[in-house]
Amino acid sequence: MSSIEPFNRLVKLVARAFYDDITTKGDNQPKSGRSDNRGIAVVVLDALTRRQWVREEDLAKDLKLHSKQLRRTLRFLEEEKLVARDHRKETAKGAKIYSAAVAATADGQPFAKEGEEKIKLHTHSYCSLDYAQIYDVVRYRIHRMRKKLKDELECKNTVQEYICPNCQRRYNALDALRLVSLEDDSFHCENCNGELVAESDKLAAQEGGDGDDNARRRRREKLKDLLQKLEVHLKPLMEQINRVKDLDVPEFGTLQAWEARASAAGRAANGDSSSNDPNKSSQGYGGTPMPFLGDTKVEVAFSGAEGKQVDVKSETDSTPQKVLPPWMIKQGMNLTKEQRGEVKQESKMDGSSATGGLSDDKKSTVEDDKTSLQDEYIRAYYAALLKKQQELDEAAKNQQESSNTPISDGLSGASSNRQVGMKSKREEVEGDDDVDWEEAPVAGTTSESFKVHDLNVEAEASAEDEDDIDWEEGFLELQSRVILGGGLLFAMGLTGCVLLLQTRHE
């Protein structure tokens, strides 16, 4: 935390410059000597520079303040955009996570909260400094101050205001047309017909300036003086702002993020050494309810990814004979996609085993959006296309290579079996795919590919007619083939692209 130091200095300067005489009491309350709590904002801000996220109760205890008073101050500071706050309902457990996080940050705050336990749900408030915002707010504030003074000084772009001394009604120069009276050359109140006086600027209002030269000059002097004083007094602050300008702003993030990070760091540290830490970390883990929600989500994602990877590995293990360097990358892509498709398929298979058929597919897709439905449709389309092409390829291969015949037989068998046994067919299809992807590039001479393209066009037409049927029957295998669709694009070339676009448009 080396970069935090200049920011802390900035906060301290700001606190002393702008919040020195802030009382959290309302103005209507009389300020007795005892209830005068000016400077409390400075104390609180200073305390916050030594902490990160802190529970407000703890802060109150540390500062020996009443928590109500502290909360009022913090609310004020929140309105001033200096402090970020977070409120949440939590059990003692949740509080403990926070304590663990605090312990993990180990920034010199001795928190011995482990013992205190409450069973009830309590709303706890936390606060921390929002350095990025503080930086912006302070710059804006100074800019506004300067601008106001300068505008006053040069009387630039200010709309003159007028005030009726009798009824305190205010007008501005835009009302001038209504205010002129015929009998004399001054403005008169619409209400009481009193003579209006120009409210010379707000800063030197006491002089009652009716605009005579002397008053104006005095006002200018005063303003100039004020501006000069401002520059002098804010110089250290400005310097600090300039120093901080290029530094990274320390960012604690939200309370949850900070806790997660802090406790993670703590755990990491625990891994290396320390005997008493494990129980702390275990507590942190045990009391997961709220703050770890986000984290667990992430973990779910990870586990999903891991699972996939494992599956992929097993897949590659099961088919070790496919080691064709030139197509390694393609295959890799293929496999992962295939794998993804298979995962989906399995989840759907569960449904279909219960009732089976199209309705299940629909049921599962209903949960998805329409877009996914369209995707499925496109996939189904592709599956159909692919099948055609495969058949064509097989035919071509049959002509060329006699060794391939059994496999192609298997394929044809599979395609004929489609409606009967889905699972078995799927496996077959997978086998086919593998073979296909091994063979296709070998067999892919230009003349053949041309042929394929042409026939594909035909296939498109026919496939459109059969869409519904394909959708039903091709649905299960299609997932495993979608991928092939991707690969197919290469093979099919431009016509394929056009086809895809067309289907998308539809």
Partner: protein, 197 residues
């Protein structure tokens, strides 16, 4: 600032005008109705330059009046904040002075008049520099900068109703822009003194 824009308006015409001169009647009525009016959005309509298109008339039930949608090009004048205008001083008092730039009234309050100019009351109230070389009085021409504009509330109403089809003739309230200006800046101030001419 002046703009040349296309506006649309529904003109109601009495049946007695139907005949050969229908078009001329519509145009002359349009000019009479529109020129010199003001809307908060477009400003003052200075002049109609041409009529683009007169649509099909719609006979109104009960009255026999016919409504024609008319598209016309016109020159409009709208004051903007920050704009520099030349204006003629119309009134001087101790609070400042009023000036007019065409249909626009501008008020320059005394704190937006350079500090070296002082108010001289009398028969011909004026603002004069201490050496008397520059004098602002009635009928002086000044160059000023607009720092604020205001349109009357009735104008805003009319403005809103103009955006949708409106079946009654032009609003009876003549609308006004009112501006406040300053001459306390470089190159602003008196540009032509009536007494020296």
């Amino acid at each position: 600032m002046f703009f040349h824009i296309v506006l649309e308006r529904n003109m109601q015409l009495h049946p007695r005008h139907f005949g050969r001169n229908l078009r001329e009647h519509i145009i002359s009525k349009l000019m009479k109705d529109v020129e010199g009016t003001c809307s908060g959005r477009h400003g003052f309509v200075v002049a109609i330059t041409s009529v683009e298109n007169i649509g099909k008339g719609l006979i109104r039930d009960g009255t026999g009046f016919v409504t024609f949608p008319v598209k016309y090009q016109c020159v409009v004048f709208r004051p903007f904040k920050g704009e520099i205008l030349e204006a003629v001083v119309s009134m001087v008092n101790k609070m400042g002075f009023f000036a007019e730039a065409g249909p626009v009234q501008i008020f320059v309050s005394n704190h937006l008049i350079p500090d070296d100019m002082e108010f001289q009351s009398g028969d011909m109230p004026n603002y004069t520099t201490s050496d008397g070389s520059v004098k602002i009085q009635k009928d002086s021409e000044v160059r000023l900068k607009i720092i604020g504009t205001r349109v009357d509330a009735t104008e805003i109403d009319k403005n809103i109703s103009q955006s949708r089809p409106k079946w009654d003739p032009a609003g009876s309230h003549p609308s006004r822009f009112f501006c406040i200006g300053t001459i306390k800046d470089d190159f602003l101030g008196v540009i032509n003194d009536p007494t020296t001419i």
